[in-house]
């Protein structure tokens, strides 16, 4: 567990209990003390699991844009240019998340085998609607994990991706003809999506062996 998240852990305890105040005081007295609380390991394990979940979604998005660009299904130049641009962005997210997992001492999730044949066969309309759907669920999935990440540095990194997913989602909603209101599907307050719901939603794009 990095020093920052350990400090945060202590601070959180400090805010909620006198025992926490005691722990914090001890932590300050012997700052370099290596003994982490017993829960620390599983907490960083949770963070790795969250990062790997996000990584899996980014793989799906990245593969999707690749498949769209390669297929030649989309002729609209704006949509095609954005698909290329968004695809590059998702690749950078894949890299950043893999790097973060390794930095936490974890093993990055394997790239899933994806399939988008049904979407591509549905034509440009279906492609655009699917892109919007995937980005909206991506943004909601990041939001769902933001309150679960323990490490504040990881949280900051996740937030910097979360808002880019949101930008993608709004642009694609708008290009898909949903209007400004449709680009803001939850109104003024975006709603989070739980991990299992997000994984279920992308399941049609994971190829069966």
């Amino acid at each position: 567990m990095p020093a920052t998240s350990r400090k945060q852990f202590l601070r959180t305890l400090g805010a909620t209990s006198a025992a926490g105040a005691l722990l914090t005081a001890c932590g300050r007295a012997g700052d370099k003390r290596p003994a982490a609380p017993p829960a620390a390991k599983s907490m960083s394990g949770d963070d790795v699991a969250i990062l790997n979940f996000a990584l899996t979604l980014e793989y799906v998005e990245s593969d999707f844009y690749d498949a769209v660009v390669r297929s030649g299904v989309v002729k609209d130049r704006t949509v095609l240019e954005l698909a290329k641009r968004f695809g590059e962005t998702e690749r950078l997210h894949v890299g950043a998340l893999s790097f973060a997992v390794v930095g936490m001492g974890g093993k990055p999730a394997a790239r899933p085998k994806t399939t988008f044949d049904d979407v591509l066969a549905g034509g440009p309309r279906k492609v655009l609607d699917t892109a919007a759907m995937v980005e909206n669920l991506g943004a909601a999935a990041y939001l769902g994990q933001a309150t679960r990440l323990r490490d504040k540095d990881l949280l900051a990194r996740a937030l910097s991706i979360h808002t880019v997913e949101a930008r993608h989602a709004a642009a694609l909603n708008s290009l898909a003809g949903k209007g400004f209101r449709g680009a803001l599907p939850d109104g003024a307050f975006a709603k989070p999506l739980a991990m299992d719901a997000a994984l279920k939603a992308v399941k049609p794009f994971i190829a069966k062996d």
Partner: protein, 206 residues
């Protein structure tokens, strides 16, 4: 928490700093007064820049955005019907953010900041000047929330701030598209510290 006197202190309805102070005093009962003072000082300093201060800063930015769109709708020149429709939508959202933040600040025992006096120069003379400043305000809003959110200690407030910043990012994207810009300036949105964000909006504060 064996000390019965401390244990009897009412937690509900006390301020956070009082609560932290109480915890620190309990620690002091065990460790001696010398061990307590740094914690007390830090706890109170944290409270100074704590969740209430973060939310009040966000509130100030939301007031700024809400007033910006309100004035654009009232006196903006040359706005296309589409741009007006977008400004109307965004104005409603920013108003809702203002209300939500005021409620949240009161909920944690704080006092919501008053709406600042603001001015936007020549922003309302054309559609291009409106979109340019709207883009700058929305992108700054995204970065300010992203910079501040990790410092929020309440998970509930973090979730709420996350729900707002996602909407700010959607606004930024729509405004950028409307102005013919890429919706994403970069693969990772920048995080601004509070000083940087305050400096970015200072030109509009009167």
């Amino acid at each position: 928490m064996e000390n019965s006197e401390l244990g009897a202190v009412e937690v509900h309805g006390t301020t956070r700093s009082a609560f932290l102070l109480r915890g620190a005093l309990a620690a002091g009962a065990v460790l001696g007064a010398g061990a307590v003072s740094p914690f007390v000082r830090d706890a109170l300093a944290q409270d100074d820049g704590g969740d209430g201060a973060i939310l009040n800063f966000a509130l100030t930015l939301e007031y700024l955005e809400a007033t910006f769109y309100e004035r654009a709708l009232r006196k903006g020149k040359g706005l296309s019907p589409d741009t007006r429709a977008l400004a109307l939508e965004l104005h409603e959202n920013e108003r809702a953010h203002v209300d939500a933040l005021r409620t949240a600040i009161k909920g944690i025992g704080g006092t919501p900041a008053a709406a600042p006096q603001v001015g936007f120069g020549m922003a309302f003379t054309s559609e291009a000047s409106f979109l340019k400043l709207a883009q700058s305000l929305e992108d700054t809003g995204v970065s300010a929330y992203n910079g501040a959110a990790p410092s929020l200690r309440s998970a509930e407030l973090l979730g709420a701030a996350g729900g707002i910043v996602q909407v700010e990012a959607r606004h930024a994207s729509l405004i950028r598209l409307q102005g013919g810009l890429l919706p994403t300036p970069d693969a990772f949105d920048k995080a601004l510290g509070r000083d940087e964000a305050a400096a970015a909006v200072k030109p509009f504060m009167r």
